[in-house]
């Protein structure tokens, strides 16, 4: 990337790590519904989305490799929790289906908008990938919104569960947009407009859909974003996930299937 100076490279890496780690971890969480989905179609849906997201993380790790980081498998499978840059939201256990669905809605909408913004990135290799991912994630957001609307307009119990899950998810979801140390570099170099703009666009998109579902987000005075994940501070849930995910790799790093 000849337009990069060192500061740009570091900023791009920081951004890529966040996105790739988010994809890998939420992908792993999605896969935990395989075999357990409440109905067969949902089992398949979460399994498919898991496959999409883990595949997407791989190509993002490949971009990091181009910028001088270790190869995708090494980066994905050999780091400890404190070296991960995912937001805490994605590492929470799948919980009940309402929690997984609302997280899916809030997170995937943010992800879709992030990739939409990145289609115009000056970092061309990332822009190309973003164009591709946007088309794939579109199916994830359609799925999420369909269930949000259906269950919120289902019966009293389903609506109450969706509202309660939304309350539980809200501050965690705001943590997606934790500002990094390279916000201005990313913005000035045209790589990415930044987390603040992403959050704004996200709110503009999701609030009408939440209203349409007849649900409400907490009062603004109660908004308290859960930050830390982007800087390597994680919940107690991440390390066990990583340990499980890397079990085979730890036994035999050269294993193939």
């Amino acid at each position: 990337m000849d337009f990069f100076n060192e500061n740009h490279v570091n900023a791009a890496k920081d951004l890529l790590y966040k996105m790739a780690d988010d994809q890998l971890i939420i992908g792993h969480r999605n896969s935990e519904w395989t075999g357990l989905g409440p109905i067969l179609e949902e089992d398949i849906a979460f399994s498919s989305m898991a496959q999409d997201k883990i595949g997407q993380s791989e190509h993002l790790y490949n971009l990091l490799h181009e910028l001088g980081e270790a190869d995708a498998d090494t980066v994905a499978f050999t780091r400890n929790a404190n070296q991960f840059h995912c937001c805490q939201f994605v590492e929470f256990p799948i919980g009940e289906y309402d929690f997984s669905l609302v997280r899916h809605f809030l997170f995937d909408m943010a992800e879709y908008i992030r990739f939409e913004m990145l289609t115009g990135s000056s970092y061309e290799n990332l822009a190309r990938i973003a164009k591709k991912y946007k088309g794939e994630i579109k199916y994830h957001t359609m799925h999420a919104n369909t269930w949000l609307q259906q269950l919120s307009h289902g019966n009293e119990e389903s609506k109450a569960r969706m509202q309660s899950a939304l309350n539980d998810c809200w501050n965690l979801a705001l943590g997606i947009f934790e500002r990094g140390e390279y916000e201005s570099v990313l913005n000035e170099s045209g790589i990415f407009a930044g987390e603040a703009e992403l959050q704004e666009k996200w709110l503009e998109t999701i609030l009408p859909l939440i209203e349409k579902a007849g649900l409400s987000v907490p009062e603004k005075s109660e908004w308290s974003p859960v930050y830390g994940g982007r800087k390597g501070f994680h919940t107690e849930f991440l390390q066990p996930l990583l340990t499980e995910m890397t079990e085979v790799y730890s036994i035999d790093p050269t294993a193939e299937w």
Partner: protein, 165 residues
């Protein structure tokens, strides 16, 4: 005795023999994932692009292309690469490709020209009886590129190759 001229048309022709390992009726050329072919003397470069980032058949298809090219005596150097330089979408599937999908019992994706919402996916004619009286059961199916539908006319479940933008 005729001599074969190895040019990009010739390469495209022989790659028609390389089929999608998950849908063996469609060639990778008709699927639209061969995005560039360059021939320089006895060196051949083929560029592929993924249908889906998480498609497990990617590496297999790269190898299938290498194996097929290696059978041609006039080719000494083979380079196969998967990139996102030109991003795949289902409008890149050729008419022959759409026929091939149908032959496999998969409803071909609707031309979407960039507009993709659930109503596009819902409007999928049955590959068995052709009826448009069908219901979308799920946008996710047995592989990343397929969706699940039900035909209310011939009362059969079927799969569609879903439109991707």
């Amino acid at each position: 005795m005729s001599t074969t001229v190895i040019d990009s048309d010739f390469i495209r022709e022989i790659l028609l023999e390389v089929k999608d390992p998950e849908i063996p009726t469609i060639s990778i050329v008709d699927l639209g994932i061969v995005t560039d072919i360059k021939v320089d003397g006895d060196a051949v470069y083929v560029q592929l692009t993924p249908t889906f980032a998480g498609c497990p058949a990617l590496k297999i298809m790269e190898q299938m292309v290498r194996d097929r090219l290696a059978q041609e005596p006039g080719i000494a150097k083979i380079t196969v690469e998967t990139t996102f330089d030109k991003q795949w979408n289902t409008d890149m599937i050729t008419d022959a490709g759409r026929e091939a999908l149908l032959k496999h019992g998969l409803a071909p994706p609707k031309h979407h020209e960039g507009y993709l919402e659930l109503d596009v996916l819902s409007d999928t004619p049955c590959p068995y009886c052709g009826s448009r009286n069908t219901t979308l059961k799920s946008p996710f199916g047995p592989t990343l590129c397929r969706s699940l539908h039900y035909c209310n006319n011939c009362l059969q479940a079927f799969e569609g190759f879903k439109p991707v933008g």
